[in-house]
Amino acid sequence: MARKGLLITPDICVGCRACQVACKEWNQLPATKTKNNGTHENPPDLDGNNFNKIRFIEHADQKGVKWLFVSQRCMHCGEPACVQICPVGALIKDKDTGIVYYDKNKCIACHACKSACPFDIPRYDQGGKGKIAKCHLCIDRVRAGLTPACAKTCPTGAIRYGDRDALLKEAKAKKYKIYGETELGGLGVIFALTDSPKIYKLAESPKISESVAFWGSVLRTLVGRGDSTASTFVRYLAHKSTEK
């Protein structure tokens, strides 16, 4: 299978958030009890029950108002920092598709991946205390030959699923500015933009911190020893490693 990806085109996203609901429906994630915080954007952040989310971004100046709707979720990095730091191999980059998914059975809830991730994506179940929970590009659907739920439901084509190369080619043909072509080994989730990434609140030149590789190997060695105190110690160290 060729590397799979999503092409996100904020310019044709209408902010309907069918993608947010579709993700929750497919993954059977419970609703968060929210309140209106003076904005339409909700829930306020990604969390263990919200793997994707539309940011509502308002820009106002003399020329008028802009209101952008930008999908936020795991980027499925070509060189995923989360995979590099995970001490137990709970985060996995799929060889066939490039999808970065996870095995909750292995996850020891050390939460190292959250801070290793240059996009601040990983979240955890059990109210943030438990195991890794994030977009897995619907790897279950993809392996069954189906389109990821959010892309399937999107009415305008603002989220499109397909072979990454083909999506890239298409976006380029339409003369969009591409975000994610080369960043971090090429993102699996690429954005077709008409303005600078900053306007869309996308991290400009995202980087993996140099310490990620180091801490990754330290943590793995400890886990490799396999003694019973190791896992508590690893959690402590993982926490340390990600303090900034």
Binding site: G15, R17, V21, E25, V65, P155
Partner: protein, 818 residues
């Protein structure tokens, strides 16, 4: 919709005014975005708020709510002044050249009313609203468009005052934006440029609602955009099957297929037919509605079967009759209920306690009933009204019955979308518990009512006892066990009730019991039965056309003629004869809807509006076949409030008078309600801000379905009030604060959203702020009250004089920090 959702992709310019498809019709937005991406189409949004649709616009123009006619009137002036109208189209296919009665007067000459106004009756005598006729009884014309009495010159005259300065001054839109907007819209007056318009409740819910749409119709006729691919005027309907329900005669003034309901003075079928069958002396008019007798007789045959005979007027006397001037629209029903004149009410699939204007009045009205039956998916603010805020249940005698029903995915049947496409749906899951499909509930009800009539006779049992009700197998008591919706659909399509050895139309033979293939074959002699003539052809002997799923696209326009079935006769774009020149060649060959094939003497493409040849050929016909004169009506004498749209202020507005017509601040023909709860204010410092209500993507209508869906409530959990940053600062309100919004009729709390998407406007020297609220919430659910209540607590009881739709898009409010 004159066109189709898919056809939006064929437009060069898309005007969204009075609607917000990105939020309320997101799938429609797919085609709009496609037009933008693939054709480079321009999207223009005119709206008091910068909506999610505006976020996608190439040009956004803010206007004060309730001033659309000023904006559109200015556009008409711009088109005429700059000679940008499509001359051949206007001359051949509209009434622009027709001469109007010389005694007809415009509001400019009569202090803001047209000739014939009767102040006491608040209504018009339309004696002068007519054309001058020649010796053959057809309108006199001036093809040079110069005669001062011709429609075109009247149009020029009436809008001559709607200058850019006036438009800017009244609507609050910046002058440069108005001009830029007019330029884009008027650029489509060429044969190869097309604009489409999409509207919804933002246009209809005003005291000038119908005239808002008339104004746009005039513009689309001037620009030659009716009947064209990528053109037309498209009402985006607010519910999946609201088109189907009006087609099926849901409203008080129409039977199925828009046949009028009879009134008391329509004493017999002959009188009815005489009164409602339009006549024409125009030889080139098809005057389709001259077929009315066939449709009404076939309808009576469908509902009364063998009991309906020529001798007994096909049971015409069984039809209920309204009093001659009786209006039974929503506002009138609740006014009468409030006054204690209605004993019982079925709230079927609706939640009036939150959906109706002036909810406090509506809720009080429910308390005056003896009984109330609610058929719904959930117990809601209506079925529990007696437990609601401010209600003293001990004093309420209303007995409430709740019948739980199946949701749309729990039953089989058809839905008809805005584009008139009737699409068959299968049942996905069984309804929970004892919930029943509506048809089954009706069946139970019918059987019981019938039994009572059989036993107790009553005043007039025959209309009930003689109804045909052959929708399935009967049990031993004679009740239909289960309603077979295919049988219902077949009856709606229509069938032959007797052998027709040689049909007068196509000379073919038909057997009794055969399905009627098309409404052209319906008869007025009782040999055909048809529940709804416009659906004739939807379920033929060849099968259920609505269940078709063919994806062929022979025109390349995305009309998909084999996908389901659209009325009339599977025509996808109505008035399509206007898309060709009088010789039958498409105005725009690149987007040909139909084309006359001269060699074979037939139309190719979409199903043409009548098989007759194009206008200029022998036997040719005019394109607007539903109009007795065959042309598009710029002059609209059928309207209650004037043959041309003119600006009147909303019932509640910030000003003392109408800047254009000083003597008439509001629409002179609106009905004013007199109950103690029907208070209103204008130019009143207690309520200085323009309030408006709307919907958001995440909720639907009063929110009964969506508030019960946790995933949607997570996205929009609470009622909010959107205001601009300037007003917020003045009032000391911050985003997320709780505020109290009040009107002369009610108040409610909401969460403030301060946003630059709303901006104060300069109108007639004053600064105008708007306060926008959704009406999706209700006190009943979520049970902890965290959602808030309906914004309709604020809206007034007042309706458009033509349709009686409430004015919930413009009214006056105050807002304070809670």
């Amino acid at each position: 919709m004159t066109n189709q959702y898919t056809d939006l992709k064929n437009a060069d310019v898309i005007l969204i005014m009075g609607g917000n498809p990105a939020e309320n019709h997101p799938v429609a937005m797919k085609w709009i975005m496609r037009a933008k991406e693939q054709r480079g189409a321009k999207l223009v949004v005119v709206d008091p708020r910068f909506t999610r649709t505006a976020a996608k616009a190439d040009l956004y123009v803010p206007i004060r709510s309730g001033t659309d006619i000023v904006f559109l009137g200015g556009l008409i002036k711009y088109i005429i002044d700059n000679n940008l109208y499509f001359k051949d189209y206007v001359l051949n296919y509209t009434d622009a050249s027709f001469l109007v009665d010389p005694n007809f007067k415009l509001p400019d000459e009569l202090d803001g009313v047209f000739s014939g106004y009767d102040e006491k009756k608040r209504a018009y005598d339309k004696a002068t609203w007519k054309f001058q006729l020649d010796e053959n009884g057809i309108p006199k014309k001036d093809p040079t468009l110069q005669d001062p009495h011709c429609v075109f010159q009247l149009l020029r005259k009436i809008y001559s005052r709607y200058t850019l300065d006036v438009v800017s001054n009244i609507t609050g839109a910046p002058k440069d934006k108005i001009e830029e907007c007019y330029k884009i819209l008027a650029s489509t007056g060429k044969p190869d440029k097309v604009m489409t318009e999409c509207y919804a409740m933002g246009w209809t819910q005003h005291t000038v609602g119908a005239q808002n749409i008339r104004a746009m119709s005039i513009i689309q006729l001037l620009l030659g955009n009716m009947g064209m691919a990528g053109g037309g005027i498209n009402a985006l309907r607010g519910e999946s099957n609201v088109q189907g329900s009006t087609d099926a005669g849901l409203l008080f003034h129409i039977l199925t297929g828009y046949n009028p309901t009879p009134v008391a003075s329509d004493v017999d079928l002959k009188t009815y037919i005489e009164k409602y069958t339009p006549k024409t002396k125009e030889p080139k008019s098809l005057n389709w509605l001259s077929n009315r007798p066939k449709y009404i007789v076939s309808y009576l045959k469908a509902i009364y079967g063998d009991k309906a005979t020529k001798e007994n007027d096909y049971c015409y006397s069984y039809l209920p009759k309204r009093d001659d001037t009786q209006n039974c629209s929503w506002l009138m029903i609740f006014d009468q209920m409030y006054k204690g004149k209605i004993k019982g009410f079925f709230a079927w699939g609706q939640n009036p306690a939150c959906s109706g204007a002036n909810s406090n009045k509506t809720r009080q009205a429910l308390a005056k009933l003896d009984w109330l039956v609610c058929v719904n998916l959930w117990d809601n603010e209506t079925s529990s009204f007696w437990k609601g805020p401010g209600m003293d249940s001990k004093k309420i005698k209303t007995e409430v019955f709740f019948l739980p029903c199946a949701a749309s995915v729990e039953k089989e049947g058809s839905v008809t979308n805005s584009g008139r496409i009737a699409q068959w749906r299968y049942k996905a899951v069984n309804p929970p518990g004892k919930c029943m499909p509506d048809a089954e509930i009706i069946n139970e009800l019918y059987f019981r009512v019938k039994k009572l009539y059989e036993k107790e006779k009553g005043a007039f049992p025959d209309p009930i006892l003689h109804l045909t009700w052959d929708y399935g197998e009967k049990d031993k008591n004679g009740k239909i066990k289960h309603v077979d919706v295919h049988k219902v659909a077949k009856e709606i399509n229509g069938y032959f009730t007797a052998d027709v050895p040689e049909h007068p139309n196509d000379k073919k033979a038909y057997k009794k019991g055969q399905q009627v293939p098309s409404f052209a074959l319906l008869l007025d002699d009782g040999r055909t039965a048809c529940g709804n003539w416009i659906y004739c052809g939807s379920y033929t002997d060849a099968g259920n056309m609505m269940a078709r799923r063919g994806k062929e696209d022979p025109t390349g326009l995305g009309l998909f003629p084999n996908w389901a079935w659209s009325w009339p006769v599977n025509r996808r774009i109505i008035y399509n004869r206007a898309s060709v020149d009088p010789q039958g060649n498409p105005w725009d060959p690149k987007r040909a809807v139909i084309k006359w094939d001269a060699a074979n003497k037939k139309w190719v493409g979409d199903i043409a509006d009548g098989p007759q040849p194009p206008l200029a050929l022998e036997g040719g016909k005019l394109p607007f076949i539903m109009k007795p004169l065959g042309v598009g009506a710029i002059f609209g004498p059928g309207m209650a409030d004037g043959p041309f749209p003119v600006h009147y202020e909303p019932l509640e507005c910030p000003f003392q008078e109408n800047p254009l017509y000083k003597k008439h601040r509001i629409n002179p023909t609106v009905k004013l309600f007199d109950a103690d709860t029907d208070v209103f204010v204008y130019c009143d410092t207690r309520y200085p801000y323009v309030g408006t209500t709307y919907r958001v993507t995440e909720h639907w209508q009063t929110g009964v379905m969506t508030r019960h869906t946790d995933w949607l409530r997570e996205l929009e959990p609470q009622i909010f009030a959107e205001i601009d940053p300037v007003l917020a600062k003045e009032k000391g309100i911050k985003s997320g604060d709780k505020v109290i919004v009040s009107s002369a009729r009610g108040k409610l709390w909401a969460i403030a959203i301060i946003t630059p998407r709303l901006q104060p406007m300069k109108v007639l020297g004053q600064t105008i702020h708007i306060v926008g609220l959704p009406w999706h919430y209700g006190w009943k659910f979520p049970e902890d009250g965290s959602g808030g209540d309906s914004a309709n607590l604020l809206t007034p009881t007042i309706g458009d004089p033509n349709t009686m739709i409430p004015e919930s898009k413009a009214f006056m409010v105050n807002i304070e920090k809670a």
